[in-house]
């Protein structure tokens, strides 16, 4: 039996309209500027914060940034800016 990936109607609508999925859902968006800056929208909280690792709770998953000299430069509502030398970004279910 074929597995269904698009459970949310908004996701299906976005696919049909050829739009980004996050434009119709309130899912997190991540904008990465090279390996120096990342702007995350839709943050639900910081789970762990060190200079080498930052874990952030987003909807239905956890985002893990690993690198060196990581810093949360700005934090406002659900938006968050991380700067430093980002080595990896992992999406943990």
């Amino acid at each position: 039996m074929q597995k269904r990936y698009w459970k949310h109607p908004a996701q299906q609508a976005a696919r049909l309209l050829d739009l980004p999925e996050t434009s119709l859902t309130d899912g997190p968006t991540l904008e990465v500027g090279a390996n120096r800056e990342a702007v995350l929208d839709g943050c639900r909280g910081i789970l762990e914060y060190t200079q080498q690792e930052i874990r952030i709770a987003v909807r239905e998953m956890t985002l893990r940034f690993t690198g060196d000299d990581l810093c949360i430069c700005a934090m406002d509502g659900g938006s968050l800016t991380i700067r430093g030398l980002i080595r990896a970004i992992e999406f943990l279910a």
Binding site: Y49, C71, M75, G77
Partner: protein
């Protein structure tokens, strides 16, 4: 980013350290409560972050709720910079007074510059403008530049165009003078002959209008008609005109120059006397070394110190009186120099001369009989009635 820095500087910020178990909790709470927090950096087990001074109390309250502790480590912003001088009332009052003075002065006119004056006297123009409300110290909002320019154009016929530009506390008056109408040299309602103003021998005749009655080599006497204003044609008819001509003739002239052996001469000082004066609203307050009148000369340079205070630097060439002693030879040289100056002044060409010097007791007299070439043409108008009555105009 610079705007953000300025805003933070004006509002005042604090850097604080969050200690306790799981300090990230406070950052999450701040995010939920919409408290702006930035530059969050982990330092060991604690986290250092920044927020506005106004929001720090709320942050500290949230921290206590989560069993965390906050401690201010640094303060930034204007209010913290000004704290050391808060008790110095004089400085504060001075700053406020200075600002108030600047605010008051910027509403007034302090400098007026005029450009475009060629024949019009600049000081007279400034007086006229002053009478119409444009003067140093006038309130800027009272100056109506358009009506001022219009009034000046209507009242002063010498000005063809004028505008007043206000730039801050400076008024720039730009004007263009009217070109004078050309002189009417050939009137239709008058007639004239060209006559000799001195006795002489004609060297050349160049009639511009009229009929020449003399030619090269002729000897003419004073008052004789050289070019007639009555032009006769071959049929016996005549036409009246305003005769004009250039007639060069050789003329004998006698010139006497007297040079005393001892003379008082008034000259300008070779080195200017320099000085500075402080002027306020156009009035000289302090002037050292140089008379006050000397500060109002063309050789004055102004340095604007403040809108109403100017430093005027004057270079005055004051008159010097000295007595000159001359030997007869030096007196003769001086007499010759003066004779040449007279010739140059009269615009004549010297063709020959016989000079005799007479040495007196107190002065030397130089007699010169000169043969010079000069224009002897003189326009003399005549009326038609004069001709009809039989008077000779030819």
């Amino acid at each position: 980013m610079a705007v953000l820095w300025v805003l933070r500087f004006l509002r005042g910020t604090v850097t604080f350290l969050i200690t306790g178990t799981f300090p990230e909790k406070l950052l999450n709470r701040c995010a939920r409560e919409r408290i702006p927090v930035w530059d969050a950096r982990p330092t060991g087990s604690a986290i250092s972050a920044q927020t506005y001074v106004k929001d720090y109390r709320r942050t500290a309250r949230l921290a206590r709720r989560d069993s965390l502790r906050t401690r201010v480590t640094a303060r930034h912003g204007m209010r913290f910079r000004l704290r050391p001088i808060q008790n110095r009332k004089g400085l504060l009052i001075g700053a406020v007074c200075g600002c108030a003075l600047i605010w008051a002065l910027t509403g007034h006119l302090w400098v007026i510059t005029v450009s475009g004056c060629e024949t019009i006297d600049e000081s007279a123009l400034l007086e006229e403008l002053s009478a119409r409300g444009l003067f140093c110290g006038a309130r800027l909002r009272d100056i109506d530049t358009r009506s001022l320019a219009r009034e000046m154009l209507l009242t002063d016929d010498r000005i063809s165009w004028l505008t007043v530009n206000l730039r801050g506390s400076t008024a720039e008056v730009l004007l263009s003078e009217c070109a004078p109408p050309p002189e009417t040299i050939d009137p239709d309602d008058r007639w004239a002959n060209v006559v000799a103003k001195e006795d002489g021998v004609i060297h050349s005749v160049l009639p511009l209008k009229g009929q020449a009655l003399c030619r090269k080599g002729d000897t003419v006497s004073k008052g004789e008609i050289l070019v007639s204003g009555v032009i006769e044609d071959e049929f016996g008819g005549s036409m009246l005109t305003y005769a004009r001509a250039s007639v060069l003739a050789g003329v004998y002239e006698e010139v006497t120059v007297t040079v005393p052996y001892r003379e008082r001469v008034v000259t300008e000082s070779p080195e200017p006397l320099r000085s500075r004066g402080l002027s306020c609203f156009g009035r000289v307050l302090i002037a050292a070394d140089v008379p006050r009148e000397a500060l109002r000369t063309e050789r004055t340079f102004k340095t604007i110190l403040y809108p109403f205070l100017t430093i005027e630097e004057a270079a005055a060439y004051l008159p010097e009186t000295k007595t000159v002693e001359r030997t007869p030879f030096a007196a003769k040289e001086e007499a010759m120099r003066r004779l040449r100056a007279i010739n140059a002044e009269e615009d004549t060409v010297l063709l020959g001369e016989a000079v005799t010097a007479e040495e007196g007791e107190t002065a030397l007299k130089l007699h010169a009989l000169q043969y010079v070439e000069k224009d002897i043409a003189e326009i003399r108008e005549f009326s038609v009635e004069q001709r009809q009555e039989g008077d000779s105009v030819l």
